[in-house]
Symmetry: D2
């Protein structure tokens, strides 16, 4: 089995044992990703960029991945495919000659 | 090569061609995840749970995965390992007999 | 009329002319606050703390205030009262002698 | 003293007693608003729109207002003015005849 399938299967097994699919509609999964992202962000609040607690970063990032994989599963997205597809889209939004070394958004390049 | 490595390699290649590593400190990567999560959330705003545009969900979710994989790479986390580890932690926070069918947070169970 | 009432009245007038109350349930208003907060955050992404565009900060912050005032109105909260009440709660969570000069969260003090 | 000044003064007094101004740069204040917004959002997670705990909504909304007022103070924005100014901008983005009864974003109207 491929890695992303293994991850998804482990998450579904955990969820289904708890009968939680009933709560996991796409909108609330999107909320969950935002909430977990803010918990990650909190580890950096009032701190320098490299001062977050690594163990906690690991856990909060794992939570983000978990809900992101569950939302991908809802839509039957293949995670590798959607990331590679998005890289292609971004390559046209951020051509190397214009974007190199710049932090500007594509609509300001 | 394993899938999560392939994804990470593709993201690093895209980034390095644009000389963007200088911007990708852990704190700003965490900001980026939060920002992309909110763009996903916006697809559901003022709508029912299943009324988001699927193509846009795919793109915003891909953005979240991209920054999450880049942050994992910063810390040398193996994505599969951290998700499986977190499932174990959550299994103790949410024992099946207490959590089954409940949407409560672990500290309210 | 007091300032917070004036602000609320102006927001309600804008909303009601557009017949938008139907969309403004508390959950979606909370989503809107999160989304606007992320738009504010984006102005600081990949930048130093004082490099955001002031005109855009003004607009995004105004959007956050707008949805926050509208949510407060839904619950009939008086904005001044709830902030002053929260300051009192925080004063007990963050006693001066322990919290002075520290960026730690109350449960870590 | 006007209400928004009273709120700001109370927040500054609380902060200054704790010597926290050193942490309150604009970027971290923006992070704080996002984090508090997500804590508000969490009260609605896996729930219907009207099932959040009112006492907790009051507290989380107060936290959002607090950091929003503190960020406004950093930039010397008058809260009433910036909201009223933004309403004018939104009135041109959302003309009544096009926007009435529609949840669409201005660029899709």
């Amino acid at each position: 089995m491929k890695e992303t399938e293994e991850i998804t299967q482990a998450l579904l097994e955990f969820r289904n044992k708890r009968d939680w699919e009933q709560f996991h509609n796409p909108k609330d999964l999107a909320l969950a990703i935002s909430i977990e992202s803010a918990e990650l962000l909190e580890l950096f609040l009032w701190r320098n960029a490299d001062e977050a607690n690594t163990v906690k970063v690991k856990e909060e990032l794992a939570d983000i991945f978990s809900f992101a994989f569950l939302l991908a599963e809802k839509y039957r997205f293949n995670v590798k495919d959607i990331v590679l597809d998005k890289i292609k889209i971004n390559a046209t939004k951020y051509p190397i000659d214009k974007a190199k070394g710049s932090a500007k958004k594509y609509n300001e390049l």
